[in-house]
């Protein structure tokens, strides 16, 4: 896979709007049949990056290639091969079915069985005007519009917004199936949980700068989680303090809480040496992930350049 040509490749992609917003020197690659998560809080530049890839806006500097084609010069050919779900979209007054039929005509797709199957699967209401649907139900139509023509690349901007947990699960299953089919997926999200469950690699963006690109497991290994354990009997703090990756240990009676970075296994083994009555293994928040990378950045001094945001 290392030598296969990337589906997306950006180099120093930069878009400035006035002084703030926008993106700064964003460079990454998305490989074939890979789910790439683009993780960042709202306003970090996720949508700006996507709009640049789709040639809806022009970069101030840098370039992007999709399928080896130039994002600006060959935008029509590129868009024929991808499916896209924007964060917000409308189609005027029509129903979901009309929107699907329009896109099928424009994309030259003759058969709508895949769209129908997806509509069944997500219980999407195709017969009501889009404008009357709730955000979640409109999002379902958006998903169908993005994948029904079996594109080689999916670009999904915050795809699970408004979906209920059951549908989110169904959607993540669909993303995995699309990868099985051979499609690459570029998925923006502000939810770590979602990225963790479906993505192979993740790019972390904040204030317009891509601060890390890593395999999801590596990111999780570096990130600190909150662990809280309740034992059947009071446990000596020393038993936990010296374990690898443990910091900020607090012991109160039978309950111990601490932060854990890196390998989970030694700590789990140490804990289960005692009788455990409750265990809470909290997911790191997005903010904690950022802190991890900012700390790393500070230590290594390897990423010079603009001095943060302040």
């Amino acid at each position: 896979m290392a030598n296969a040509s990337p589906v997306i490749e950006t180099q120093g992609l930069t878009k400035r709007y006035g002084r703030h917003r926008g993106i700064d020197e964003v460079s990454f690659r998305v490989e074939p049949a890979e789910v790439f998560g683009f993780l960042g809080p709202n306003g970090a530049g996720k949508t700006t990056t996507i709009r640049t890839l789709l040639d809806l806006i022009r970069p101030t500097a840098g370039s992007a290639r999709l399928f080896g084609l130039d994002s600006r010069r060959d935008s029509v050919a590129i868009r024929a091969r991808l499916g896209n779900l924007p964060g917000e979209f409308g189609f005027g007054r029509g129903t979901g079915r009309e929107a699907i039929e329009l896109l099928a005509r424009l994309r030259g797709v003759g058969r709508l069985d895949r769209a129908d199957a997806l509509a069944d699967r997500f219980r999407a209401d195709l017969d009501r005007p889009l404008a009357q649907l709730s955000r979640g139900n409109r999002q379902k139509i958006g998903l169908i519009l993005a994948v029904f023509h079996e594109p080689e690349l999916l670009i999904l901007d915050e795809p699970t917004g408004g979906l209920d947990p059951l549908m989110q699960e169904e959607f993540l299953a669909l993303v995995r199936e699309e990868r099985e089919r051979g499609a690459a997926v570029f998925l923006s999200s502000h939810e770590l949980d979602e990225v963790e469950r479906v993505c192979d690699r993740v790019g972390i963006i904040r204030e317009g700068r891509l601060i890390a690109v890593e395999r999801v497991e590596e990111m999780l290994a570096k990130t600190q989680r909150h662990v809280s354990v309740e034992f059947a009997e009071p446990v000596a703090a020393d038993a936990l303090r010296d374990l690898p990756g443990v910091s900020e240990l607090e012991v109160e009676g039978r309950r111990a809480s601490f932060r854990l970075a890196g390998d989970v296994d030694p700590v789990l083994k140490a804990i289960t040496a005692h009788r455990v009555t409750d265990l809470d293994f909290a997911h790191p928040t997005l903010e904690e992930v950022f802190l991890t990378y900012y700390r790393g950045e500070g230590d290594e001094q390897e990423r010079s350049g603009t001095g943060g945001g302040g």
Binding site: R93, G94, L102, L106
Partner: protein, 245 residues
Amino acid sequence: MSARSTGATALRVLWQIRHDPRTIALMLVVPTVLLALLYWVFEGKPQVFQQIGAPLCGLFPFIVMFLITSIAMLRERTSGTLERLMSLPIAKADILFGYGIAFGALAAIQTAIVCFVGFVALGLEATHGAWLVALLAIANAVLGMALGLFVSAFAQTEFQAVQFMPAFVLPQLILCGLFVARDEMAGFLQAISWLLPLTYAFDALARATGQEPLDSAFAADVLVVVGATIASLGLGALTLRRRTG
């Protein structure tokens, strides 16, 4: 560009408007009512009605299409529809031509009704044929559409878009020679009127409904209208990307 994309875009625009029968009714009825109003206002002065009413048959579609396009496009932008369309494999030219065809078709219907009422029911004269007025009217409609599409990029709300009508269209209407012949205007007004596309649109219509034989001046008018349309569409293409809001 492809016929498939252009056609699908045009169909979508017509489909949208089909969902809004009130707008269609207003588009078709209002110009006719206004024309009838002029007829009654100038009841004792048939020459004045001929002078104003006949060219006006060909100017209504310009005004209406400008207004409809500027608001419709603003909506397409702010609702994310335009961006959704532009993230499909469609060239910008397909989107623009799709709109042109759809609005041109609406203009043709509108023109047919106005021209029928004006030239048949109300007795206006089209010396060189009502069909010529109708053709000019459709050309003007497409010009109005192209200008509306361009200015829609600069409106953030529908209120602003509506204001573009008095801002862009009324001055052109006042200066084009419809109310006062241009050679009777002050020199600087005449100079300004030379720069406004509606001046040429009106001049062509006045010649088409006047007594003089059609000469190269008429052809020049038509060329300017077509040129202004192409230029506006070009500007529209440049600003199509603007998201607004």
